[in-house]
């Protein structure tokens, strides 16, 4: 098992790229602007989760998608909360899994109970290593406290927690910048499709040692 406790070493492969500079250009349509504006305006006040649950989701999300300190963090927990508030479901659940709202409530309660049992402290007060340890045990299906009910901890971890947190993180433009994705694309799509081809409205990837060149190009991405 790889070491999850170290901070992410996210290479800055697309220096200076900000997908939001394309926001008012032909790559975004009105519907997209509306949807992304709403996403960017999400505040840290939970609408579905309780304050305690929200803090717990924040702590868990920080382990699932650790963020660099060089930019404002993506409000992952708030995005998860909004999806629950809007009651946007997956369209299926495996036998034994409650519906998504109930699964989150129960899973968070159980995770907290496991933290208290194992370390006699709330999850949010554990060290990162301890938090990872608990999450790994959940992932492996080893957590069996009564609070889980008939929901298996590995089902909760994989099908609910991991899924929702990862989807929330990669729904945010800041995450798109990190991976050099072109972002929204309508009405304008793309012209240059072959290998190593990029349109002037796509992120330029930095060659090692030539970050400044890429940054200069990326400033012109519109």
């Amino acid at each position: 098992m790889h070491d999850r406790s170290r901070p992410p070493a996210i290479p800055d492969r697309y220096p200076g790229y900000d997908v939001l500079t394309k926001r008012s250009g032909p790559s975004w349509n009105d519907k997209t602007r509306e949807v992304i504006a709403e996403r960017l305006s999400v505040t840290a006040t939970p609408l579905f989760l309780s304050a305690g649950e929200f803090q717990l989701v924040r702590a868990v999300a920080a382990r699932i998608v650790p963020q660099p300190s060089t930019r404002p963090p993506i409000p992952v927990a708030a995005l998860v909360d909004r999806k629950l508030h809007a009651d946007i479901a997956d369209g299926y659940r495996t036998d034994g899994m409650p519906r998504h709202r109930e699964a989150w409530r129960r899973g968070l309660r159980a995770l907290e109970a496991e933290a208290l049992t194992a370390f006699h402290r709330p999850f949010t007060e554990l060290s990162e290593g301890m938090q990872d340890q608990l999450l790994q045990r959940a992932e492996a299906g080893e957590l069996k406290a009564a609070d889980w009910g008939d929901m298996r901890s590995d089902d909760f971890f994989k099908r609910r927690l991991l899924r929702d947190v990862v989807l929330a993180y990669y729904s945010h433009p800041a995450a798109w910048n990190e991976i050099g994705w072109g972002g929204p694309a309508s009405p304008r799509g793309y012209v240059r499709l072959d290998a190593n081809e990029r349109d002037p409205w796509e992120a330029a990837e930095a060659e090692p040692g030539h970050e400044a060149d890429a940054a200069r190009t990326n400033r012109h991405v519109r």
């Binding site: 032909p26 009405p187 240059r192 990029r198 349109d199 002037p200 200069r216």
Partner: protein, 324 residues
Amino acid sequence: MSNDTDWLVGAGLALSAIAATAMLQPSPPRRLERKPASLPSRPGPHPRASVRAARRLNRAAGMLAASVLADSSVEHYRGSFKNKAMYTPLAVSALTLAMSAHGTADRRPWAHRLRDGSYLLAAATGLIGTGFHVYNVTRKVGGFSWQNLFYGAPLGAPMAILLSGLLGFCSERVRDTSRAQRPHVFGLPAARTIAAVTAAGLLGTSGEAGLLHFRGAFHNPFMAVPVTLPPVGAALLFKAAARDPGDDKTRRHPLTRAWMWLLAAMGFAGVGFHAYGVSRNMGGWRNWSQNILAGPPLPAPPSFTGLALAGLAALGLMREHPDA
């Protein structure tokens, strides 16, 4: 590829548009019909007829060069000028354009060394460009497949600058031989040779349009026009080229001339159709940064105009020189 090449493409487009317009301006009326007293009178047509034909050929070569300049600017910008050699057709077609403008204005009955050189350069560029484009297609996975013929470097495109060079070169030969009994190109009768070259060019260009319009599934019935009218024009030109030089009655070729004017007009109408095609794509002209590149190529159709002008020049020479 950086975005710094944008200006270059813009400049290329603007220059070619201005040049194409200028090329089509009627030559200034010759108010002073000075008799070239220095030339001794001699039997046969007046050399001025040959010079006029040569100037028309310069104009045709210039029109083709303008089309190439604009087209290669756009297409090679689309290709991000990945290979430095991709700047070559821009420079060469710009030079050819300038030389053709010079030739169009020049009434002297002899060839111009710089023009000659640049036309040869253009022809060579066309040949080498074709080689590059063939290489580009073959090295892609799938090789000579419809996919790569449709979307790889267009094999026929560099032929346009080759044709421009050839027509220009012919123009200089016509000038050079204007005082001779019979204008000729390498000993071949000039008018008929040029007619044949132009006819071949029309067929090739029509083939290129056919390939790309086939790619577009001929979704608009007008897309059939550039694959039907030019071959007829080519046939008429071939027929003119093969005429019996002794038969005075067939020297005027009114139908062929009319057809050439039709093709010239078609070349310009094509720009309009292609502009409409761009507007039909998602986002229309507002999404120009994609649709200029992905839509039908605006600068391509005037190459038909260039060839039609060359055809007219050849026919004009034919009319005035029975045995050209």
